[in-house]
Amino acid sequence: MRYMILLKGTQPAEPPPPGLMEAIMKLGDEANAAGALLDTAGLAPSVAGARVQLSGGHLSVVDGPFAEAKEFISYALYEVRSRQEAVEWASRFLRLHQELWPGWDGDADVLKVFGPEDFAPPA
């Protein structure tokens, strides 16, 4: 089963410590070797993006940045055997931030991607 992990966080003024990027690469290698990480990429700040909205029957396009306190930072698509396994990978990812980037706050939303296991087999 697949899970999409969306990382959101505050954007501190200073760049992430170099040790963090190294640790993230190492964790990514491990998840890749475990056959669990299918796809991942970083996301540019929302100032580089836009939001297409449909509200009250009215379609509009708003350029970034968005007003939210937390910005999307990255996504990762995992193929795992249980929700807990996806949670474990997300926890390892945030633990690196906890250890190496004091003061950083963020969330990793673990979202299930619908798959064949979500649809009952025919009777």
Binding site: D29, N32, A33, A34, G35, A36, L38, D39, L77, E79, V80, R81, S82, R83, Q84, E85, V87, E88, W89, R95, P116, E117, D118, P121, P122
Partner: protein
């Protein structure tokens, strides 16, 4: 251990705190068991013992973590616990052997397993090599194929005996016996925890790839409504293939096999109709193909083809699968390339089934008469006499030549040969459709 059934509906039994903790342990186990067993096998020199120590650590975690919470470094906790169990085991053995005066229990070659267990803090430095040794040992040629598969899933996939049994539709006692027998055989043959030497490497790697592909096909051939552990085998095989691609990056067939599995798995959602019937490749809704797995498969194929070593059968099959994956519609399929790839494959792997597949591709690219010539060659050589696909392919080619009556007879022959009821229904409906073509009262073509 047991992983509970599919889905995890909120408010279900998983919502109980004890179950949540148990599932957290299982998640860590799934990620870490291979590395744990591999590291322990290097230290103890014994895969069977390493697997038992790791299981002991799992049991301890299942007992303790629900009470104490998950430790900050779960992998390290499992390793330390397993090593302590190992030290206890060796001490007990030493006592049992009445070697009380000895402070250690050195083996004849001077290896002291207790000291190794106490001193070894170098897990991460060796882990890639250890995992590879574990893969080669679990797929050792001294073992039966059933035992290789069971031991590989047990040691590398972290599957329980119960899960292996359900996946292969055998009683749990049978699966347990395969693992026990595998460990006994390894011990009996004094199979060390080593990589094969350069002169054996090609054969041993072929054995490993065969085990992985067998696991994949077992999962891929599972039908709707079967225990969910069966299709899960395809994912287990993909995981093993992805691990091998990292551990053995210079072997084209490792990437070729991975490419083949990724591309085949990309069709999973399209190959069964909503009412559970198989859908053949030309009839599949290609919008249901998994683009991500196709992309990964094509990338693995590119890596296989970029390596200097000669291309092997898995890479060729992946290249054929890639021709289908690249075609947006059946009509866009590059049949000439597929026919050429089957010709190369037939040279490496003389098999009448490969020739039959080549006949299909030649029929599509060079016309049905050319395809028919290949099939008739197989018949003249008395190949595949009981194989239902042979008359089915011949029937299709004859229909292409508008030889309706002969085509109908071939599909009737195919229907009589197959043991698969769904396939039989397809063949009979083709035969009925062809009969209306040549019957005097039938509709004009």
């Amino acid at each position: 251990m047991t992983v509970s059934g599919q889905g995890s509906a909120a408010g279900g039994p998983e919502a109980a705190p004890g179950n949540a903790a148990r599932r957290a342990v299982e998640a860590v186990w799934r990620i870490e068991s291979g590395r744990l067993i591999a590291g322990l096998a290097r230290i103890t020199g014994d895969v069977g013992l390493a697997e038992e120590l790791a299981q002991d650590a799992l049991v301890a975690a299942l007992e303790q973590w629900p009470l104490t919470g998950t430790p900050p470094n779960p992998a390290g906790w499992l390793m330390t616990t397993a090593k302590n169990r190992g030290i206890d085991t060796f001490r007990r053995r030493a006592v049992h052997q009445e070697k009380l005066t000895m402070l250690s229990c050195r083996t004849p070659d001077g290896h002291d397993p207790i000291a190794a267990l106490v001193d070894d803090n170098t897990l991460d430095d060796h882990i890639g090599d250890d995992l590879l040794r574990l893969i080669f040992t679990a797929a050792h040629p001294a073992l039966t194929m059933d035992s290789r598969v069971a031991l590989t899933l047990r040691c590398l996939g972290g599957l329980s005996t119960d899960e292996i049994a359900r996946a292969f539709l055998v009683p749990e006692s049978t699966a347990a016996q395969r693992i026990v027998r595998a460990k006994r055989t390894l011990a009996g043959h004094s199979v060390g925890f080593e990589l094969p030497g350069p002169e054996q490497m090609a054969d041993r790697l072929a054995t490993v790839l065969q085990v992985v592909f067998l696991i994949f096909n077992e999962g891929y051939s599972a039908t709707t409504g079967e225990d969910w552990m069966r299709p899960a085998l395809a994912e287990e095989a993909l995981r093993l293939g992805r691990l091998l691609a990292v551990l053995v990056p210079d072997e084209p067939e490792v990437h070729g096999l991975l490419a083949l599995m990724e591309i085949q798995a990309s069709r999973s959602a399209a190959r069964v109709s909503p009412d559970g019937l198989p859908v053949l490749l030309p009839d599949q809704d290609r919008r249901l193909w998994d683009r991500l797995l196709i992309r990964r498969g094509l990338e693995s194929l590119r890596r296989a083809e970029a390596l200097p070593a000669p291309i092997g059968p898995y890479t060729l099959q992946a290249a054929i699968a890639a021709c289908h994956a690249r075609a947006a519609t059946v009509q866009d399929t590059d049949w000439a390339r597929i026919a050429a790839l089957y010709e190369v494959l037939g040279g490496l792997w003389p098999s009448p089934v490969v020739q039959l597949n080549r006949a299909v591709a030649v029929g599509k690219s060079a016309g049905p008469a050319a395809g028919l010539a290949i099939v008739d060659g197989l018949i003249a050589a008395e190949e595949l006499p009981q194989y239902p696909q042979l008359p089915a392919v011949r029937g299709d080619l004859l229909a292409g030549l508008e030889r309706w009556q002969e085509a109908q007879a071939e599909f009737e022959r195919a229907a009589a040969l197959t043991r698969n009821a769904q396939e039989q229904a397809i063949f009979l409906s083709r035969a009925a459709e062809l009969s209306s073509r040549h019957a005097p009262w039938g509709p004009a073509p």
